[in-house]
């Protein structure tokens, strides 16, 4: 291997690729050759750095220079100035939103300071398409350790002791899950990786698969060894073409090295891997639905028990874990259960990857220790609310979760605390809302998603969610009553109580938690016909302030429904009955005479 003095790591995640990061790699390589440094500096494509807000990212090591929003046109300057002359390109450095300082070393970025990267340890660090880089970073050493030193039960015991819980949503103890699958005897067992990530805004699984596919393959083999399975299947949504292609490359490399197939590393352990593509149905993230789908049936959940660990894929014992869960496994094996369980809270160990989104400065993917507070995540890592607005709520757990409010800002985030607060961990979506967000509309938004994604098998979810959504729409349209809010509450509880699978059982959460925390907002909608956030169009009231109106008639001409009348040079009036709340008059008025309530 050539001895490079500098590495230029370019993010090759889906987000940055969409902003031409592939072109950047190309340009950088061309420029390096042009200045004759091709033996000194190496350009590499890596997985996601998490700081998607400011992509595409180019990181230069060893000096940890973090260039943001790089365009192909910037490459020449980076090479000529930084690589050739040692002068960092200041304008491309990350600017701290509060101090406005350009930060030269990514170690000093607040975004990274509170993060601990276990699942994402290799993302943005290695070339995911090069198995050698993975091996250089202790890749497959965990598998070797397990095969060489531990019995299956000992391996399970380590995972149990580590306290690792399922990262896909439920939070079921992973070691226990493995143990149950290992105890069920069968001629064939399966290890399934659930890569059917579907929460709106969540993309940690995709990033791991794109940035570190080998870690998943290694973990699945470890799991296979532990439970006695020789076949692994990754169920991945077909909308993740990059992750799929990286997995395929990784699989090929493993087979060439003999890390998949028969007699792995001469230990007599066989393990094969297969990919299955999902068509992007949210419900297929539910393990029984996922298994149905893999079997070629309509993807819909089945009644549990039997659990997959007893009767799963093709009726055989099957262990299903989510991508992020698997990503933790090799690290636990290598560094030990005690190391892992030293991170986190009493009942939630390790770290959790969150996808930060919404009204927050630093949108992106972060990995933080369990027990961190929302305040730290939002104000330190996330850089606070966009535009300096007031924080209102944060939705965790995606459409299955609930919203947390100001009073929860200092609650340590872990599985149990989130449930106690009426939300859930889910797969780790975290959507931040500010004062401009109407909570009724937020609940409606999530319901729209669950209505769309319901499989239709059970009545409470199929019809109930539809009715919840219709009711919310009615309230947003200013036709709701207090009885409607009560109806929402009862219906929501019944759906939780009766729906067949996790999707249905959690789908009313956004409604129930917004009613609980923002009851006043609901009341304002149904009793005062007012949307406090000013977001529900139907509830906006446009009036003309007579003192300010000059009678210029600009608004009259702008109004598409002729709702505005008045003599020239006399104050005009808006007919609220006719008004369709389009806001055209507001935009046109030069005298700020239009009042919106």
């Amino acid at each position: 291997m050539a001895s490079y003095k500098m590495h230029l790591l370019v993010c090759g995640g889906t987000g940055c690729r969409a902003s031409e990061s592939a072109k950047i790699v190309e340009e950088l390589s061309v420029e390096i050759k042009r200045v004759g440094l091709e033996n000194d500096a190496q350009v590499l494509t890596t997985g996601c750095f998490g700081f998607c807000e400011k992509g595409p990212i180019v990181k230069v090591v060893p000096d940890n220079t973090f260039y943001t929003q790089v365009k192909p046109g910037d490459c020449k300057e980076i090479i000529e100035e930084h690589i050739l002359k040692g002068r960092k390109v200041k304008r491309l450095l990350y600017e701290d939103p509060t101090t406005k300082e350009h930060i030269e070393d990514s170690k000093h970025m607040q975004f990274y300071q509170k993060q601990i990267r276990i699942a994402l340890r290799n993302c943005g660090f290695i070339d995911p398409e090069n198995i050698d880089e993975y091996i250089a970073r202790d890749g497959y050493s965990a598998l070797a350790k397990v095969l060489g030193e531990y019995t299956p039960q000992q391996t399970i015991d380590i995972i149990k002791k580590s306290g690792l819980r399922g990262r896909g949503g439920g939070g079921f103890p992973t070691g226990l899950k493995w143990e149950i699958a290992s105890k069920n005897k069968a001629d064939q067992k399966y290890v399934v990786c659930n890569a059917d990530e579907g929460d709106p805004g969540a993309f940690m699984d995709r990033s791991i698969l794109e940035g570190d596919p080998h870690s998943i393959i290694e973990a699945m083999a470890i799991c296979g060894y532990s439970i006695g399975a020789t076949k692994g299947i990754i169920y991945i949504r077909a909308e993740y073409p990059l992750a799929i292609s990286r997995l395929k490359v990784a699989g090929r490399q493993c087979r060439a090295y003999g890390l998949l197939g028969k007699d792995i590393m001469g230990t007599g352990f066989d393990f094969e891997l297969e990919l299955r593509y999902g068509a992007g149905a949210f419900v297929c993230g539910e393990e029984t639905a996922l298994i149905r789908s893999m079997e070629g049936f309509r993807g819909e959940p089945t009644v549990k028990p039997p659990f997959p660990a007893e009767k799963g894929y093709m009726g055989k014992p099957t262990n299903v874990n989510n991508v992020e869960t698997f990503a933790n496994v090799p690290a636990i094996i290598l560094k030990g259960a005690d190391w892992f369980s030293s991170i986190g809270t009493e009942k939630s160990k390790g770290t959790k990857v969150f996808a930060l989104a919404g009204k927050i400065n630093n949108v992106g993917l972060i990995e933080v220790p369990m027990g961190i507070t929302l305040r730290e995540v939002i104000y330190e890592i996330g850089g606070g609310i966009k535009g300096g607005k007031k924080f209102k709520a944060v939705q965790t757990g995606g459409p299955s979760g609930g919203c947390l409010t100001e009073k929860h800002l200092d609650v340590p985030i872990d599985y149990d605390n989130l449930i106690a607060a009426g939300s859930m961990m889910g797969s780790g979506g975290m959507i931040v809302m500010d004062e401009d967000d109407c909570m009724v509309a937020v609940a409606k938004f999530y319901l729209e998603f669950t209505v769309e994604e319901s499989c239709g098998k059970c009545a409470p979810c199929r019809v109930g969610n539809k009715r919840l959504h219709e009711n919310l729409e009615k309230i947003c349209n200013g036709r709701g009553t207090t009885e409607d809010v009560e109806y929402l509450k009862n219906l929501g509880k019944v759906i939780k109580d009766t729906a067949l699978c996790g999707l249905g059982q959690t789908s009313p959460n956004p409604v129930l938690s917004t009613i609980e925390h923002f009851y006043d907002e609901y009341l304002a909608h149904v009793t005062e016909r007012r949307c406090p956030a000013g977001q529900c169009k139907a509830l906006k009231l446009y009036t003309i302030i007579a003192d300010k109106c000059t009678g210029c008639t600009a608004c009259v001409r702008a109004c598409p429904v002729a709702a505005i009348t008045g003599e020239k040079r006399q104050p005009h009036v808006i007919d609220a009955e006719k008004c369709i709340r389009c806001g055209a008059c507001f935009d046109k008025c030069k005298f700020s005479a239009i009042h919106v309530q």
Partner: protein, 131 residues
């Protein structure tokens, strides 16, 4: 590609491959390493900074010295180029002037590994690496 036929094969392979990742591994925890910055502005390059840098990297790799070499811009000591700033953990940074590849190796052997001071130190009044 060769098959990995045993656990030892994998260990050996890892040893061989580690090397290529060194530069990135080191960047992960620079504070625990000796940080060496070679001034690589036009003046530095003109007086042989690149050769100095190459010599240091070679030496570090050969002797597995826990040090990381980065390049910096002009430090203002153009008269003394090539200049090299060395920051040993727990100590104040020291800047060496008129460094040749030979001196560079000497800095590593004497100052970095044994804590002996050698000639050519430029007195500084600011901290740069540890800003």
């Amino acid at each position: 590609m060769n098959k990995i036929k045993s656990i030892d094969d994998l260990r050996k392979m890892k040893k061989d491959l580690e090397f290529g990742m060194n530069i990135r591994e080191k960047s992960n925890s620079p504070e625990s390493l000796v940080q060496i910055r070679v001034a690589m502005a036009t003046c530095g390059i003109a007086s042989g900074a690149r050769e100095v840098m190459n010599a240091m990297i070679e030496k570090i790799e050969k002797d597995k010295i826990p040090a990381v070499v980065t390049q910096g811009g002009c430090m203002g000591y153009c008269y003394a180029e090539p200049t090299v700033e060395v920051k040993v953990p727990g100590k104040d940074p020291v800047v060496f002037g008129y460094v040749s590849p030979k001196v560079a190796v000497e800095i590593l052997e004497k100052y970095v590994l044994n804590g002996e001071l050698i000639e050519g130190i430029i007195p500084t009044n600011y901290q740069s690496i540890n800003q």
